[in-house]
Symmetry: C2
Subunit: 328 residues, 2 copies
Amino acid sequence: MRIAVDAVGGDSYPKVQIEGAIEALEKNDNINVILLGPEELIAKELNNYSFNKNKISIFNAPQIIGMDESPAKAVKMKVKSSIVLGLALQKKGKCDAFISAGNTGALLAASTFILGKLEGVLRPTIAALYPTIKGFRLLVDAGANLEVKPEMLYQFAIMGKVYSEQVLGVENPRIGLLNVGEEEEKGTEVLKETYKLLSKTPNFIGNIEGRDILPCNADVFVCDGLIGNITLKFGESLVEAFQILIGQGIKKNKLSEEQQQIVLKVISDVISPFDYQAVGGVPFLGVDGVSLVGHGSSSSRAIKNMILNAALCVENKVNSKIVSSLKN
Amino acid sequence: MRIAVDAVGGDSYPKVQIEGAIEALEKNDNINVILLGPEELIAKELNNYSFNKNKISIFNAPQIIGMDESPAKAVKMKVKSSIVLGLALQKKGKCDAFISAGNTGALLAASTFILGKLEGVLRPTIAALYPTIKGFRLLVDAGANLEVKPEMLYQFAIMGKVYSEQVLGVENPRIGLLNVGEEEEKGTEVLKETYKLLSKTPNFIGNIEGRDILPCNADVFVCDGLIGNITLKFGESLVEAFQILIGQGIKKNKLSEEQQQIVLKVISDVISPFDYQAVGGVPFLGVDGVSLVGHGSSSSRAIKNMILNAALCVENKVNSKIVSSLKN
C-alpha cells in the first residue's frame, strides 16, 4: 500500500512529515510512503534519519502551495505542486491515498477536481473530529458545503457512519441530526426533510441539540458546513479559553508552586481528550480516492496518525462500503 | 414603573418570584411589582415575607401554562394564564414590562401576538447571553428565526447593539457576523448580503468565526436562530462536561481531600463567568413592549436580575432607541 505524503504542507515541513512517515512505517508493515515536494529539500532532510530505504521514496514536486493562497487559483496555476501531483499519482493508480497538512481549501478543490466524485455521491464533504468527554467523534460537514439539500445531509450521515466504523473504530455509530429540538417537526424545511430520509437508517437516533455534542450523545453529528464550521471552531477554542481562565484562577487564589502543579496536572488530564495531534487529520468523504487533511500545526505524531488512518481507509475499503451503503 | 412578573413560571414558583421581586425592590426604588398567577397561591406564599405592601400587588391569573405545553396552542387556549394576562396588561398600558421564567415558546408567541411588532421591525428576535472570558455578551438570534433574510440579520444586529449598550452596559458594542471566515466574500449569499448591509454601521467589525466567541472578540454575535440555538446550547453544556472531566481527573490523580479542595476552588472561580443566574434572562427584541424570559431553573437572584434588566429597558428607552436606530 502506497501512501503519498505532502512533504511541504503546514508549518514545520519537511521535518514533521519525514518523522511522521518513519513512525507510521514502524506501526504498519504494509505501508510504503511517497514524499512529495522539491526533491533536494526533502532528500537533504531525509539524510538526517535512518530508515528502511525500500519503504520511503521521493517524488519531485517543485511547487509549493502556501497556506494562505486562494485555493482554486493555486490548484489551477501550480500544476507541479505536491498537492496536485500527489492526487494525480493516486488518480493514475500509482498510490492508494494522499495526506497533507497544507492548504485545506486547495486540497478540497484538488481532491474533488482530480479524483472526482465517488459513484452516487452528490457532494464530497469534509468531516471533522469533535472532542467529546468520551473521545473524538465525527462532525460532518465541517465547512465544505454551506448550503445543502436534504439528500446531501443524508449522504453526509451515511459516509460519516462508514468512516466512524471503519477508521475511528466506533461500533454501531449513532447518527444524530443537529437541530434546535428533538421532535421530528423541529427545524428548517431542509432539516425536516433530512429527518424523513434518515428515518429509515437503522442507526439514526433522531434530532440532537447543541448540548448533546460534548456528552457524546451521538457518534456522527450531521449538519451543514456553516453550522459545522462555526461549532467546530468554537470547540477548538475551548482549551485556550480554559487555560486563560485557569491561569486567572491560580493567580486569584495565590496558590503555592506545589498547589499549582496539582491543579495543572488535573487540568492537563482534563484537556487531553481535546488533543488534535492524537487523531491527525480528517477525511474528504465522497471523492473517488483517499484524501486526508490535517492542521497546519500538525506534529510528526499527527502526520503518523494521518498516514495510519489513510491506510485504514484503504485496508477497510471505506469507499466501496460508502458506495454500497448509499445504494441501500 | 410597574413590572409584571409571571409568578407561576419555571421550576420553583412562586417562591423564587416573590423573593426575587423583594430583592429587586431593594435595588431600585422606582419599581413596583405586579405578581401574576392564581391569587390564593401567591397570597399564601406572600404571607411568609415582610415587604412594602405599596410596592407589590397581585393580579389574579388562574391558568398556568406548563413548561412542555405547545406554545401556540397554550397561548390560544389559556387566555387567563399569567403569560397572556401579563402581556395584555402591558398592551393596555397598565404595566411597563413583563418577565417570566416560564415556557419560552409560549412567551415568544404571546409577546409577538399581544404586544405586536415595534415600528420598522421585520421580525422580533430572541437574544441570548453568551459567556465569554470577559463576561456575558449578546448572541442574536437564539432560536426564534431559523430562516432569515439579510435585512432581518441586519436588524438583529442593530437591536442587539442597543440592548448591549443600554442594558448590559457594554460601551460601543462591536457587532460581529458569525461566518466561516473573516473575508467579506465568505459564507452563504445571505451572509454576504448581510455583510454589505452592516458595512455602513460604525460598530460593525466584520465577519467573525466560531473561535471568536469565547475570547470575546465581539460584543454582539449575529447569526440565524439555527446556528444561534445550536452554539448556545453547546456553550451551556460546557460547564457540566467540564465538571465531569475534572471529577475524572481528580480521581485519576488520587488527590487528597485538601488537594481536591484547592482544585475545586480554582475551578469554581473559572466557571463563575458562566453563571446564568447572574444575568437573569434574555430579551425579546423588536416587540412593542418589554418582555424578558429566563431559564426554568431561575433562582430568586435570576428573577431579581431579570426585573432589574426589564427596568433598565424602560428607564433607558431601549425600544425608542431601536426604532430610531433602524431609521438611520
